[in-house]
């Protein structure tokens, strides 16, 4: 057998297993990785309360008070309202002078996160056509009211 091999032939490397090895690596990466980057609703928190708080003078007519109760009921300036209606109201409210108008959220500590999230989502949606981010005063009722912070 060896006697018959010609001298000028280069012995070739057997590469048939390279495909298997790279397949193994591929499957490893497929299993351990998650394709989708996380998504989320971006908000900005106000900085922590300072010693000397500057009290902002805001006209009552420039504040839209939205309350979220423990059972997920929404009230706008004291009157019950549904989420789509609320979105319309916020859109109308923000149409005039959005930089100075403040949406005041008052959330019950027992309210569900999902309800709160949908409320935030509706406000962001209402402000979407405007260039200016919403100004939200976000309070969970038992705490002191503080107004400020960007969105």
């Amino acid at each position: 057998m060896f006697r018959h091999r010609r001298r000028d032939e280069i012995p070739s490397l057997n590469t048939s297993s390279t495909a298997d090895i790279s397949f193994m690596l591929l499957i490893f990466f497929l299993v351990t990785s998650s394709m989708d980057a996380g998504k989320g609703l971006k908000r900005q928190l106000p900085p922590p309360p300072q010693e000397q708080e500057q009290v902002a003078d805001i006209l009552d007519s420039d504040i839209l008070t939205i309350e979220l109760s423990a059972n997920g009921r929404l009230t706008l300036n004291g009157a019950a309202i549904t989420l789509p209606q609320l979105q319309q109201e916020v859109r109308q409210f923000a149409a005039v002078n959005p930089k100075h108008r403040v949406v005041a959220l008052k959330t019950d500590p027992q309210a569900k996160y999902d309800d709160y999230f949908q409320l935030q989502n509706a406000i962001v949606a209402a402000y979407k056509p405007l260039k200016c981010p919403p100004r939200i005063s976000d309070v969970v009722v038992e705490e002191e009211t503080e107004i400020g912070g960007k969105p």
Binding site: T32, M35, L41, D108, Q110, A111, K112, Y113, F117
Partner: protein, 151 residues
Amino acid sequence: MMRRRFRRPDHSLPELNMASLPDLIFTVLFFFMIVTHMRDVDKQVQYQIPAGTEVEKEQHKSAVVHIYIGLPLDGSTDDYCIQLNNQLATVGDIARFINEERKGMSAEDQERMTISIQADREVPMRVINEVKQALRQSYALNISYGATERQ
């Protein structure tokens, strides 16, 4: 040339050239390696994030810090727990956790650090608010409410 072709015995099968197969698979492998990110934490709380219409993709993966809030998987308590990295924690641990995460980041990632709150829909707002207040104290002001996209 022509003579050799005519002389080829009829019973031999032509071989398929497999040399480019590993290259092909390696290309797919590299594609997956680049577009995916590894899961670095094991879930210890159970949560179902809300769905919203205004969600955005989280940018700069290296600057995103996750906080998970939900019921513990091992069922040790019926209370909602906070998971930081790989362990269950309390609100008091958040400040230390944020500082540690911040230290491990590059200067520009520190600037754009975003806290992604992955909370269950049923979590009461009291818990969310405590987390948010703790984040304010640590000056981690960019937050994102983790959610899925809804049409």
